[in-house]
Amino acid sequence: MEKSTITIEIKQEVSILLLWIVGGIIFVSIAFLIPPSSMELWPQFYAAGVAAIVYLIALLSYAVRKPVSIKARIIAIACFVIALGALTFSSIQQDKQSHWQTDKLMQARSVIGRGIMLVKIPSPLLGTLQAFHQQGSTKKENLAQVFQRLNDNVSVGSNIYKPEYEGDVLKIFVQSLEPDRVELVSQETYVKGRNSQFKNYNGQKGMIQEKCILTAKGIKYESEN
């Protein structure tokens, strides 16, 4: 065997190897670029993943070609199937888990938001209720008057909530002021509620909204959306 022939053989093999790599890179890169750019990376990942699987199957078919023994082929294919199955399964698990965690994060956010509203909205109304009934059986002021007296003479549409810390975005609006009825409403501006078609106080659609109605009989708490 001439040394030059060996060199040519090796060069040929390296050339084929490089051809496969370059081909694979181009194939997978094109697949990666097909899905339009979005907030998520999963569409690109899956597109590239499918292309990579196709490439790997082709590569495996090429690698196990004759004269590789049947035993070696079976072992290689079995290992490949296990690794590929594990890859697919774990990727889908990661996808599901990350989306599930994100959903739960927003669910937690909505529970926290509702919890804060539940504590903050009734607070001025409880003070009004107490002052109203402390007048005794003969009332000098109606509910609206008591409420206005205790809350800087606010009117319908006013935000009566004073932020308690920097970044406190909660707002509590006076929705209705009638002699025997006071309504306060509070809403989230980016946390979705139960009904996506619900029309919020500020004109948005589908956000969480909670409401308290004060009458002489007490406070009625309504989770509107």
Partner: protein, 270 residues
């Protein structure tokens, strides 16, 4: 082709030198490559931060054996952005390049090098243990075996562990959500309790006392838990038991000013 390779092998085997001529440069080259990978994996964030790049600020390493982690991290980062009320923006180019680069390295380059070497060695009927001439291709082959096996093992273990982790996280988060929902239910009951105290008897209230308060049926049992109250003149004790996790119990009191206190958590809520 086989005959040529066999002949080559015979010729090469007559050379009794343990190290071929290109071995030491190859070893140095590979060591440098590995070092660069390690340094890049460990310190790339800090290094890029110092050099003013805002593109690579993620805590994830540049190189990972499991590229799905990038997509997963991006989804969770989006979730946190939404949680904070910030606007979502499309994924940046640098992150996309990182994902693509990792996919290409893990699923294209390493397996291709491995399978080509594997095929050649199968034909030559050589295993890794028979490598006694440490040539460049032998080192590359050994490296590709290590990386390919690492990827396969990582995938398999991740497939098992990610499922278990998911179950565990789901369980923990479900408990936490149930607890938070029950706290909201309890605050609503506490509100009803206090307003009962403020309302005169002719309107169905307690007129300055908690005694006589009865929890409304729709509040006594919700989808989250069951609730019971014990009243005295100036204090109410509320006991809640989770419906989803019966060992989860919350106890609290409402004082004469309507303030809640003495929150006690038992079972899974502890």
């Amino acid at each position: 082709m086989n005959q040529k390779i066999d002949s080559t092998h015979e010729e090469l085997s007559t050379n009794k030198e343990e190290f071929t001529r290109g071995f030491f440069p190859s070893l140095i080259f590979l060591t440098l490559v590995i070092l660069i990978f390690v340094v890049a994996s460990e310190n790339h964030g800090e290094w890029l931060y110092k050099h003013g790049s805002r593109a690579f600020t993620s805590e994830l390493s540049f190189f990972t054996l499991f590229p799905a982690i990038f997509a997963s991290g991006n989804t969770i980062a989006n979730g946190l952005q939404t949680f904070s009320g910030k606007e979502l923006t499309p994924t940046n180019l640098s992150l996309e390049i990182r994902v693509l680069a990792n996919i290409l390295i893990i699923y294209i380059i390493i397996p291709t090098v491995f399978f080509f070497n594997w095929h050649r060695r199968r034909i030559e009927n050589k295993s890794i243990s028979t490598i006694n001439s440490l040539s460049f291709s032998s080192v590359i082959y050994a490296l590709s075996i290590i990386l390919t096996l690492s990827i396969a093992v990582t995938m398999t273990t991740l497939a098992i562990s990610s499922y278990q982790t998911r179950q565990s996280i789901e369980h923990t988060i479900t408990i936490q959500l149930n607890e938070n929902e029950m706290i909201n239910d309890l605050n609503l009951i506490a509100l009803n309790v206090y307003q009962y105290r403020l309302i005169p008897k002719n309107l169905g209230g307690g007129e300055g006392k908690y005694t006589g308060f009865v929890i409304a049926p729709e509040r006594a049992k919700t989808q989250n838990g069951i609730y019971a109250v014990t009243t005295s003149e100036n204090q109410v004790t509320i006991k809640a038991q989770s419906l989803l996790f019966p060992s989860g119990i919350i106890n609290l009191t409402v004082n004469e000013q309507g303030q809640t206190g003495d929150w006690q958590y038992e079972g899974v809520f502890r």
